[in-house]
């Protein structure tokens, strides 16, 4: 099995943002410059190979996602109060979409529960690949994949 590509991650994330939040996000080549605070969500998965997916954005990006998911104005206080929950839910759907697209639906797979945290800086983390999309507000949303190495030949 080949390793997943940034293009696959970008396609999965872009499709989920479009279908869940009616956001048309475009892939960007350059790594974003992060200033605190950074909203980050993480979800673990088990399938043919296990791994972790992480989704990060700025607070304004998370508010944009929440507002679009709920069909409310980004200035509505509810958009801010639901912003981290919205980021976690997008990652939850991304997790299911990634696992079933990459490993297929014929093999057993399992997602963990997503959780979010607020970071002061973007840590250097082991990752198999990464994709960054730009939201309509201009804020970046970055999807990182850390996939366990494939088992070698017996």
């Amino acid at each position: 099995m080949l390793d997943p590509t940034p293009e696959l991650l970008a396609d999965v994330l872009g499709t989920v943002l479009q279908d869940s939040a009616f956001i048309f996000a475009e892939p960007v080549e350059e790594a974003p410059e992060w200033t605190p605070p950074i909203y980050s969500a993480e979800i673990a998965f088990e399938s043919v190979r296990g791994g972790v997916l992480r989704l990060s954005t700025r607070p304004r990006g998370a508010v944009e996602v929440a507002a679009n998911m709920l069909g409310i104005d980004p200035a509505d206080p509810e958009a801010e109060s639901q912003s981290r929950s919205a980021l976690a839910e997008v990652l939850n759907v991304v997790g299911g979409a990634f696992v079933t697209r990459f490993f297929g639906t014929k093999v057993p797979s399992q997602l963990g529960l997503p959780h979010t945290e607020v970071l002061d800086s973007m840590p250097e983390r082991r990752r198999t690949c990464v994709a960054t999309l730009q939201l309509e507000s201009g804020d970046p949303v970055m999807l990182e994949l850390d996939l366990e190495p494939a088992a070698g030949p017996a």
Partner: protein
């Protein structure tokens, strides 16, 4: 449909079960937009809360996630199927894409259908009308 026929219809009481508050709001919004006659919409954050709600209120339809803390959707469906009253309430699993094996397991346990996230309100309406028949009445 005649006026008399319309009067006989009872609005659906729906229970949404999901640990994500934003998802519960999204599903509630979709329920409101799908064109069905909806009465009240209840919410629960996990399977245990859902079972408590189901024992206190009349519910015609349960829309439930799978991955939840405390009691997940699969455990909730299993518990409902073992209860002579709760087993009559249809459960639609509204969850992220999953393996065919998991979907089959859920249907074997008693779930009536699986609706992958994200979904359109019309897809929910069609599914509910298929499951509930005449009880799942759409607005004219």
């Amino acid at each position: 449909m005649s006026a008399a026929g319309a009067e006989e219809k009872v609005a659906l009481e729906v229970l949404i079960v999901d640990d994500s508050s934003v998802t519960r709001k999204m599903v509630r919004r979709a329920v409101g937009l799908c064109g069905l006659e909806i009465g009240s919409v209840l919410e629960a954050a996990n399977g245990e809360e859902a079972l408590a709600q189901l024992r206190q209120h009349r519910v015609d339809l349960v829309l439930a996630d799978i991955n939840m803390p405390v009691m997940n959707g699969m455990q909730m469906v299993e518990r409902m199927s073992q209860d002579p009253v709760l087993s009559k309430i249809p459960v639609v699993i509204v969850a992220t894409p999953m393996s065919e094996q998991r979907v089959e397991r859920l249907l074997d346990l008693g779930a009536r259908a699986y609706l992958p996230k994200p979904f359109r309100p019309e897809a929910l309406r069609d599914l509910v009308m298929e499951i509930l028949g005449d009880r799942g009445t759409a607005h004219a």
